[in-house]
Amino acid sequence: MSELDLMLDGGQAEQQDEWAGAASSQDDDAALYLELDGWEGPLDLLLDLARRQKVDLRSISILALVDQYLTYINRAEALRLELAADYLVMAAWLAYLKSSLLLPREEQEDPSPEELALRLQLRLQRLGAMREAAARLMARDRIGRDVFLRGAPEGLRIDRKTQWQCDWYSLVQGYGQVKARTAPAVHMVRNRPVMTLESALDRVSAMLGVTLDWMRLEEFLPPYAEPRLRRSALASSFVAALELARKGRAELAQDAIFGPLRLRRIPA
């Protein structure tokens, strides 16, 4: 763990100006190695180098910063320290930025190197702001470190007691349903007015004997029957007609589907 970590955890925001990492104070290679372990990526390293310029982040010299970064990376490479790829990518980009910044204006591309430099500066400002905010946050009075909660609270217990609800109707209905569910089932068939097949056979045979002409099935029904008896008579008479046809005593004709069904005697 580097010094930076320690400062961040316990440090005060006011210490930001003394952010100077180990590198500025110590020149030895071991320190460099330690630092490399401590950076959270190339932007973090850039921010730290920028802080060493000891000016407001809005006034830093980008060119100087680029030089510092490239020097740093070169030193690390000379020491054969293993650098993550994004440090090298940043180095390449910064080298390009530097050369663009030094070129005569006419030859500049779009976006201009000034724009790129400004964007880099804005990013550094934002990261710097968050790093400072983090330090100030960590320096607050924290529960368990600076302020403490009650060591042995009694605790609040809530005992739930159920108040049961049921009404008269549900009670009585419940009983009714039990009785209905378990009562032995009795099925009764209603006494309906019907014409039996036998009486229909008798009636149709008798009426067929009267004439040799075609007669509609309805004409065989009892004329003043109430509707329910009439339906029963129609069904029975139809079956009777089929029975007579089967025995060769009558013939049936229907000219269209659902058309009137006609019936005529076959002379013996």
């Binding site: 009694e154 005992d159 108040q163 609800q165 049921c166 419940g174 009983y175 349903q177 209905a180 009764m188």
Partner: protein
């Protein structure tokens, strides 16, 4: 190390508050970097006096000090919350059977209901205070028998069990209709085919009942 008596009181207060166990005067003094025992004692006594009218008291038990809730507020630590819940259909049926047939054993309840009765169902009725154990039936196994309570009559607004409507009255009001029928009548036509078929049967049955009632 600690300046005035006020500062010592504050330190004692905070230390006892944060401590997980009651602390003796000696332990407190040691924790506070070697404060005078007599001063710690004075601080404790003054604090205890200051807290006396509060909802929290600073008390000494077996030579060790701690904060605790004022005794008259102990009820705040354990609260009862009433929760209103409707009796389940099963419990309602069991209660009704007890009311109509009391005293009645569990086996008898089950035979009337035609289904097994979960242990919890009777417990709920006992807890609600509507059913009670009314002794044992003097038959082999001596099963417990259940009856209703005065609270039951009170809750349902009955003077006596005889106020419960008889079977004939239930039938007249349609309460003896099969469950499916009554349910369908309430819920309207079923959506699936089988349901519709059942409903047909049920309505036939209803006609039959109407007929009988004539």
């Amino acid at each position: 190390m600690i300046a005035g008596p006020d500062e010592l009181q504050r330190a004692v207060e905070a230390t006892l508050f944060a401590s997980e166990t009651p602390m003796s005067v000696e332990a407190l003094a040691a924790h506070l970097g070697g404060a005078e025992l007599s001063e710690v004692r004075i601080a404790l006594r003054e604090l205890a006096a200051n807290y006396a009218p509060h909802g929290i008291h600073l008390v000494e038990r077996a030579k060790r000090w701690h904060f605790e809730t004022a005794p008259d507020l102990a009820h705040l630590l354990r609260r009862e919350r009433e929760q209103v819940r409707r009796l389940s259909r099963a419990a309602t049926e069991v209660l009704a059977i007890i009311a109509y047939h009391e005293p009645v054993s569990r086996a008898e309840i089950e035979s009337i209901r035609g289904v097994q009765t979960a242990k919890g169902t009777l417990d709920v009725l006992l807890e609600a205070g509507w059913a009670r154990v009314a002794g044992r039936r003097e038959v082999p196994g001596r099963p417990v028998i259940y009856a209703t309570t005065p609270e039951f009559l009170e809750h349902f607004g009955l003077d006596s069990r005889r106020d419960l409507p008889g079977i004939d009255e239930l039938r007249a009001t349609g309460l003896l209709d099969p469950v499916d029928d009554a349910f369908d009548a309430l819920m309207g036509p079923d959506e699936d085919h089988d349901g519709a078929k059942e409903q047909e049967t049920a309505s036939d049955l209803k006609q039959m009942d109407d007929h009988q009632a004539d």
